[in-house]
């Protein structure tokens, strides 16, 4: 299959801009939903219903003075936020948005997602270290320890999905869930333990509450980005929201049927003309976005529901509970798949 450089570039440009835009939507959504949960209005002054608030935020970031600590490491201090944004953005290139609509269909897509996630930690650690501040350093170290601890369980959850699907390509995994009216075939039903583990570790990997120890305000001021200001802080901010958004995409893709419309086989049987049409693609995209919206909402919901972990609880959960469960789940799934295949 020959893909022209031009169309790929246009697609990539679209994806990057969609991600940037979605970050601003998420900022708005988080503040409004938080306000709703805490029984207060939230931002409502900039534009109708405060919808232009994120743009005002961005403007503020750009206008602010970029302050750099005196004894900091200039190069790495500037590198860290860029690294965060670039990596967060590049994961988006692997997500299948609809049938056949994916920027990079690589045969080891899932592993690529894991690999890129694991590199994210450099941004936080380096940002924390280069600031030359104890709060930043502690935040950076915490994040490195946390992400490495939870990456193991995340990897094992992904492996259980790969075992079921028999492929590591993301579109392949989505297509594998198409059986059973495309609802019961979802991996969330076939592999519920793996699903829960993955969602929990996704929270930990994105440093979202209740795993937001790297930036715990009460202990560390702002954590790894204490010493950042202006657009550099804005980039950390942006990366956090993009990561959150991308994590929702990955959860949906791996466990909730990705772009599949619920009851898609029934729908296609009823209206055969739909197969392969542009409308189906749009429907699939819409279904994906709805599911993603739910998980994006879940992130906010959890944030205002669970208190933050203590550090020892975090490590305890990661190593003594999640890891053994994930390991056992992988073995059970592997045996189950082997038995299933030998019967059918």
């Amino acid at each position: 299959m020959e893909i022209s450089l031009l169309s790929t570039s246009i697609f990539a440009f679209l994806v990057v801009n969609a991600m940037l835009l979605s970050a601003s939507v998420l900022v708005y959504a988080e503040r409004r939903v938080s306000g709703f949960m805490q029984n207060r209005p939230g931002p409502n002054r900039v534009g109708p219903l405060g919808i232009l608030q994120p743009f005002a935020d961005v403007l503020k970031f750009v206008m602010k003075e970029d302050i750099q600590p005196a004894a900091s490491n200039t190069f790495i201090h500037a590198l860290a936020p860029v690294l965060m944004v670039v990596i967060a953005m590049s994961v988006a290139s692997l997500i299948p948005f609809a049938e056949g609509v994916v920027l990079l269909d690589i045969d080891v897509g899932v592993l690529m997602v894991l690999a890129l996630t694991s590199v994210t930690v450099y941004g936080i650690t380096l940002g924390g270290w280069s600031s030359n501040s104890k709060y930043s350093l502690l935040g950076g170290l915490r994040s490195a320890a946390q992400m490495i601890s939870y990456e193991l369980s995340m990897g094992l959850a992904v492996i259980s999905v790969v075992i079921i699907a028999g492929t590591m390509s993301l579109p392949g995994i989505v297509e594998d869930q198409a059986s059973g009216w495309a609802v019961l075939g979802w991996n969330a039903f076939r592999n519920p333990v793996g699903c829960i583990i993955f969602i929990v570790t996704a929270f930990a990997e994105t440093n979202r509450a209740p795993f937001d120890l790297p930036e715990a305000e009460q202990e560390l001021v702002g954590g790894y980005h204490t010493e950042y200001s202006g657009m550099k802080f804005g980039m950390f901010f942006l990366a956090e929201y993009v990561n959150w958004f991308v994590a929702s995409f990955i959860i949906v893709t791996l466990f909730f049927g990705g772009y599949l419309i619920p009851f898609q086989p029934l729908l296609l049987a009823a209206i055969p003309a739909l197969d392969g049409s542009l409308l189906l693609t749009l429907l699939q995209f819409g279904s994906l976005m709805l599911k993603v919206a739910f998980f994006a909402f879940l992130f906010i919901w959890v944030r205002w529901t669970f208190p933050r972990f203590k550090y020892n609880q975090l490590m305890d959960l990661g190593w003594k509970k999640m890891l053994p469960i994930a390991l056992a789940n992988t073995v059970v799934i592997a045996i189950g798949v082997a038995i299933f295949r030998s019967i059918f």
């Binding site: 080891v108 690999a115 490195a144 590591m168």
Partner: protein, 173 residues
């Protein structure tokens, strides 16, 4: 294809430059980061050669896990950059000369050996490269031909873990 060779040479240049950076950087952080860059560019080289699985594993294992731990240790120990060398003793100079000598020998040997062609090996096509680099092929080989090595390597890792925990954690005396 021009684009492929441009990518290759760019990645190769970055890999070599960052490898040199690992050696000459005076600050341990810069040294470690150069190594990360080196590993990433080598992973990129694998990807351009269609060995996507190995390329991604290279990022995941080396850049994503091992080097993070190395960085972690450097930060925890808060290692300072080495001072610039004022004077060099005869030891390093001798080592340098011998090292250059060894390198020259190896380079000479390599240069004279560019013409070697293996009779058994067929020319590698893209399809073959994709096939050989895939997780499926690797898995089959690992669990048949090298199954024993896989198990012994598991014992190696277990021994290393047990030893590290024992030496670091045991309350002696």
């Amino acid at each position: 294809m021009a684009l492929a060779s441009v990518t290759f040479f760019a990645l190769a240049l970055i890999a070599i430059a960052s490898a040199v950076g690992v050696l000459i950087a005076r600050s341990p952080i810069y040294s470690a980061l150069s190594l990360v860059l080196n590993l990433l560019s080598v992973a990129g080289l694998y990807l351009t050669m269609n060995a996507s699985f190995i390329g991604v594993i290279q990022i995941l294992v080396y850049a994503g896990a091992i080097m993070v731990l190395v960085l972690f240790v450097i930060m925890l120990l808060n290692l300072d950059a080495l001072p610039s060398p004022r004077s060099i003793g005869w030891g390093p100079i001798l080592g340098f000369v011998l090292g250059i000598g060894l390198l020259a020998q190896l380079l000479y040997v390599m240069l004279t050996s560019f013409g070697i062609s293996l009779e058994a090996a067929e020319p590698v096509t893209t399809a073959m490269a994709v096939e050989n680099g895939s997780a499926n092929t690797l898995g089959q080989i690992l669990f048949t031909e090298y199954a024993l090595h896989l198990q012994v390597a598991a014992i190696l890792l277990l021994a290393a873990t047990v030893g590290a925990v024992m030496l670091a954690q045991r309350r002696f005396a």
